[in-house]
Symmetry: D2
């Protein structure tokens, strides 16, 4: 912890802070005695060493003479690209008849496409269309977190059944969102290949722990308004369960003045790829909320360094139970998009 | 649903939208034939009637000719001040030796004060200090949602025990945060008087449902970045469980450029009080994160129309397990604050 | 400047940064040799001394091994409460027949009320109503900054004439917004008592300088999305012109999910009052944009420590040229509000 | 204007609103008599026709029974892609020895590269490096808008001189930022090829008008926190001066939780390209503020549909007067970047 005092703060005030720090068993080293500190615009900075906790930092912040406190903790250990010696991949074994799928540096761009909400009639044809167009995984929501209780909440267990039956026919692994710690067993029973944690549950830490414990690949979405620091710290709840199969997913954030459903955060692809060792997926449909923007947004994410792209598709969007409006429904268009995204990904591989 | 088309959009484009709407079994009424619509800057607007769903609205938004879509649903039914004939109160019976406590219009300003995280040594004296200073309820966290898994996570069941033992001695009802649907029974076992849902779980709808089902008074905090509309809609998950004991709690939001831990949202007190029938509590400590701001922030919330104020207190902040820095620790100061807040509340009662 | 390196960064990388710093003629002191730094989770921090500039800080930030850079400059010198020995007041002499008006600590709450945009027929009666209700200053916009060129832009010089003629009759000093450096002379010609710089021009530094140079009292509004740090730094453009008559005005900011026209920033009253020596005004009408919220918002600002409140009034809002909807139009109501605000201000004077 | 009333609002309340509207000389058409409106959850919506103004809309919003008001104005006329029959280009004639440069649909990707702040020693070699690497225009700031008056403010007229002398040697047109209406003549005297309006002056409408009047190509940057609607409306201040040479520039916005200097807004490229006929430039350096992110961010903007990219370059960043840290300094790297960006642009031309 580094403490920066206000210019003009009194010596006694600063000493109070230091006394408190020593009380906690920590050591303080003050930047005094410097020539530039003897002037009228004297700068006072303390370095604090020892087992510094958030609580310490926060208490120090409350002293009137303190201008700022800076943490000197490292990047959360499990995710650091530097500590882990480069970036890593996550592989879905796919025991359901198809090929394993790998996400991450060195692997081809992974396309995750499927229905937003599983329905009985269109999940299979939609997922077949996705496969023919070049997708690697199918997504489909059986449990839907809806802002209002009066909205459709998903087919629940029936949805998992439909999703996994379609998987047998299609041959691609499936990813589906878990909302409740009590449902995790159900997802295991149906052997869902990858468990998704959605943006509304990004800080539902109990859920992160339970999902992490399964050892299954996890697609973890950034919270609506979480900073990357909050996102990465919380991701450790998953990895701390001895689960190395974590994939980070960006999906737009709350912003001021955005023209889209959410404000795109594709620039964070670059940041995450430099900071962590985790594969990164960008969600094209939920960030923009506009089908007409999906192609271009996908271009950006692919050329920006994403390891995977996620999008909603539906053969009959007008019958989609949720968010049909943003689903791509033309196989020809989808095929063209995926080909372009793969081309952009290959072209830009290796750019730092 | 009302559809506004772009000026200059083509007739055929608009007809496509209308065809789709009729396909869904809805009726469209177009604002055509008006004099001002025959000009070059013709305005086109459709009214859509029937069982309009979010999915419809969203799909309509994706048409290129559509400028905007506006929902014409009413305010969520359960919370509407107009529909419910004024504002309502929530009463905590307090079977533990003290008086019942009522929050809401007509009742005195309720003060909820206690430790942020329950600890073994300071919870009782802190809650006694709060009572002597004039508080009506004690708060104390046994389960703590922390951004990182490496931070202290609360004493858990032991914390509930400590909290409820202190209650016997103090005589005030207690409120404590539930993080996990599987813990709800435990809260019932200890007969916690009011269950809190925290900001990180504001859209953990499964938790809202389970907590709602208990019938217990609920203190429901706004999510970090939820709009009031999202907040109020989600609140219906609780009330839909036949639970009328819902209290809404504002606690600051994520903002750009705020000087405090969060950006204060006390202006929403005014909005919520005009819109809903629910009692409103403002969290002084977690919004500002600065002990030195608590007095003034409390003044604002009290004079602004809050029905209750929540704050952290601790007899020995340097030993607090979480957020000690923001806890008020002086009984004299706390007594003065509460007296002032009550005075401001009384003085401003009845202002619309 | 303090530099914090990533845990796990290489010694050579850090040395590159230090070499660059020395190249600039600055001195570095590294926190090496500490016991806790020899472990695997070694923390590296450098203190940099000398004439550190923004450009230095920014370049250092770009090194891959750098986690964070913290500035150790003091609070902008001109505004610091500590450096200036407490808080100060600003007095408008009011040579137009009335009493001088003082804003700031120790003075009564100042009420600035008037029409949003000056019009020919209602400015005088509106300002008379404001005076009868207890206002101390009249505001009125002659030059209006409008988002679109197709909106009404103000009566311009005619508006100043109308405003200042009304002043002769009413006897209160007037405040009006300047948009253009070329108009400053005009404001001097009409001897406008206080010049306002609006939110859209908060970082139009040329305008700040020109307005500052007049020596006139200045009402300087925070930019839509400026942090308090940006606000306070820019304020120095005014005070650097040997103008000590600066009053800071908060007026709501852009936020996510606000129910009002802007998100209220009244909590910053507390922050500014603790940080700077400047009088603080809160703009009730432009923050909320709702007449029905003005009373309660005013309560908050008054009880929160504002030195002045600003609001729109109009005797005939339906004829107001701009923002009539948010203007208070009832003298009885206004009188009651102002009395209440004054009472709240007096009651809470002296709270830190 | 469309008015949506609260469910449960009283007939008399709604009639008050309608009376006011008729008072203004507007016509109201209410959606009454519909079957679904006779139920308990009756929906009430009015369409208002005539010369509806912002002020009307705002006043209507203040009625208690009004839930929402929606504007039905068209997209600002001057910029609408639909009205103007597609997207347009802007050409800089370049009378200074080089080729004319065209920005916009159909033209190659334009690269604007140069020093952030003009300095005496490095502007020429930096701009020569930019040209050799493939840039089409040089940027250089002579007048710098700085958050604090104590920061370097630019070389001013000397800077223009240096910039334009370099132009003679380099042969590329130059773009430079104007801060003050009084400086416009100076920019004309030096025949600066393109005038930039910066983010801090995005709503300095007087400046927009004066710059628009020159007829010169204008690079107009989005304000820090302006919505696209505000951005596009204000752009009309420029085009209303009979100036068709307007280029829109995105440069990141203020956001919550961004890891970069600003939150990237490259997704708005897609929106603007679908909405308006204007060429769109993305500013790589000021959005991210990190040299290490420029390559990838450029990929995104190029593949996302930008017509031009702007970035800081400097042959000796440690001597740069402003923002040297974010300047690209390697000719080899810059050449590689520009080639890649052009390739991505060509590959994705024609994607909607």
């Amino acid at each position: 912890m580094i403490i920066q005092y206000y210019v003009g703060s009194a010596q006694e005030q600063r000493e109070e802070v230091r006394a408190k720090i020593r009380e906690w068993g920590l050591r303080v080293r003050s930047s005094t005695g410097e020539k530039e500190e003897s002037s009228d615009t004297q700068i006072h900075v303390d370095n604090v060493f020892g087992n510094v906790k958030d609580a310490h930092r926060r208490e120090v912040e409350t002293f009137d003479c303190v201008k700022a406190v800076i943490s000197i903790e490292g990047v959360p250990q499990n995710l650091s690209r530097v500590r882990r010696g480069g970036r890593h991949t996550v592989t879905l074994p796919n025991p359901h008849g198809g090929k394993p799928v790998t996400l991450g540096e060195g692997a081809p761009l992974a396309i995750i496409a499927g229905v937003c909400a599983v329905d009985r009639d269109h999940t299979l044809p939609s997922h077949q269309m996705a496969k023919r167009s070049g997708a690697d995984l199918n997504r489909g929501g059986a449990f839907k977190p809806r802002t209002s209780p009066y909205d459709f909440q998903g087919l629940k267990e029936d949805g998992l059944k439909v999703l996994c039956e379609a998987r047998e026919a299609v041959g691609l692994p499936v990813v589906s969102e878990v909302l409740d710690v009590r449902d995790v067993d159900l997802f295991m029973k149906y052997d869902v290949d990858m468990l998704q944690i959605g943006t509304r549950n990004a800080q539902n830490f109990e859920l992160l722990i339970e999902v992490g414990r399964t050892g299954k690949p996890v697609l973890y979405k950034r919270g609506f308004s979480n900073s990357i620091d909050e996102f990465v710290r919380a991701a450790n709840y998953i990895m701390e369960q001895d689960n190395d199969n974590l994939v980070l997913c960006l999906r737009g954030v709350k912003g001021i003045g955005s023209s889209f459903r959410n404000q795109g955060d594709m620039d964070e692809i670059v940041y995450l790829a430099q900071l962590t060792d985790r594969p990164i997926v960008y969600d094209l449909s939920h960030s923009s909320g506009k089908k007409s923007a999906v192609f271009r947004i996908g271009n950006m994410a692919a050329a920006g360094g994403a390891d995977g792209l996620l999008l909603d598709v539906h053969v009959s969007p007008q019958h989609a139970l949720v968010d049909g409006f943003q689903a791509v429904d033309s196989e020809e268009e989808l095929t063209r998009m995926i080909a372009m995204w793969r081309q952009l990904h290959e072209l830009t591989v290796g750019i730092p």
